[in-house]
Symmetry: C2
Subunit: 219 residues, 2 copies
């Protein structure tokens, strides 16, 4: 144990190791990452690494599981705030910006690329990631939209559909670009704001309360 | 030259080799694919393979370039048919189904995953793919939407924005799922049809001619 880590809880060392392993996996890919390189970067012995993770497969699995666990529930306070808002337009814009900031951040995009590249080799890990990140967050958003509808702020019968449409209207274009072109210039703050504005305008055209549908029409 | 390929034009052999190399790259990844394996699968000598493609990098580049070239202009007749339609709703549904069938097909998804995984190593190849596949097809769709607006079938000032929104409304959810979970069950025909219906309904709420905005409202 290094002096700087003495006295820290064991969980902290584990997390640090998984973070370093995650960096290597996202930089070098699964195949390009060796247990030797992970041990060297984490300043632990190979023996110690293999004691905790008997194979590279198990290390990869632990890295993704840790990542998903840390990210889960990140959406919850924002979804609750949306459900409680009195201003549907402002609330939807707010959650759109939150989704953009979270999903389009470089570490999230890198993990996404890694998981996609290794989905054939590790189908259960990919399925767990989809279930506990995407599906769960969209369900949380759907729940908030349903509350808004109950409160008369939206008109919708299928909140899951509405949540999917809102999500993709505000993040799909940059997500696609940045997924396919790691290292491409990210969308500017202005571009993201415009995307959120336009996505929310379209969403409200369909799901806003009666009388709001033509707002922004054709703009 | 094998007996079966004797007399065929040179382009056909090249294409066949690039197809076999593409299969290997998408199955094994860039790192997991060797020039030896490509030569073996294509039944050519290593010398002959290296003569045409002096390195694995150059082979990869040729595979992606060939793929993009074959796919480009695939959207064109459909965009032209859309521009000429008299029934906006049916035309939009039709192009939605075309986009789903094209973009969500297994070979397209596999190439997408490969290009994303190798984007850091080959940024120009990824950029060229994005430019000549996505950007170009969305511009073609935008052009068709502009013609429809000129003909009074839609109301929009920014056809590129409208084309992006239509695209993502009808393909983003399955594209995301299948990108992250290669080998997951594809969306059923019914699910895709419903996604297209709902995406087009939302699109028309925003961009349909006056009077159509409440069609499907809240459903």
């Amino acid at each position: 144990m290094s002096p700087s880590s003495r006295g820290r809880p064991r969980g902290s060392d584990t997390r640090q190791l998984l973070d370093l392993a995650r960096e290597l996996f996202t930089e070098q890919g699964f195949r390009g990452t060796t247990m030797d390189a992970v041990a060297a970067r984490a300043h632990v012995s190979k023996q110690s690494l293999y004691r905790d993770y008997p194979s590279k497969d198990e290390l990869y699995s632990a890295v993704v599981r840790d990542w998903v666990e840390r990210g889960s529930d990140g959406m919850k306070p924002h979804a609750e705030a949306l459900a409680a808002t009195d201003d549907a337009h402002a609330g939807l814009l707010g959650i759109a910006r939150i989704m953009q900031a979270g999903i389009l951040s470089p570490p999230v995009l890198q993990m996404r690329t890694l998981i996609a590249a290794e989905a054939s080799r590790f189908p259960e890990i990919a399925a767990d990631y989809v279930e506990r990140s995407w599906t769960r967050n969209i369900q949380m958003l759907a729940k908030a939209l349903r509350v808004m509808a109950d409160r008369g702020l939206l008109q919708l019968d299928n909140p899951e559909l509405a949540a999917e449409q809102l999500t993709w209207l505000v993040i799909a274009a940059p997500l696609n670009r940045l997924t396919l072109q790691a290292g491409a210039a990210p969308y500017s703050a202005d571009e993201l704001a415009e995307l959120a504005d336009q996505g929310v305008a379209t969403f409200i055209s369909r799901f806003g309360p009666a009388g709001s549908a033509r707002v922004g029409k054709g703009s």
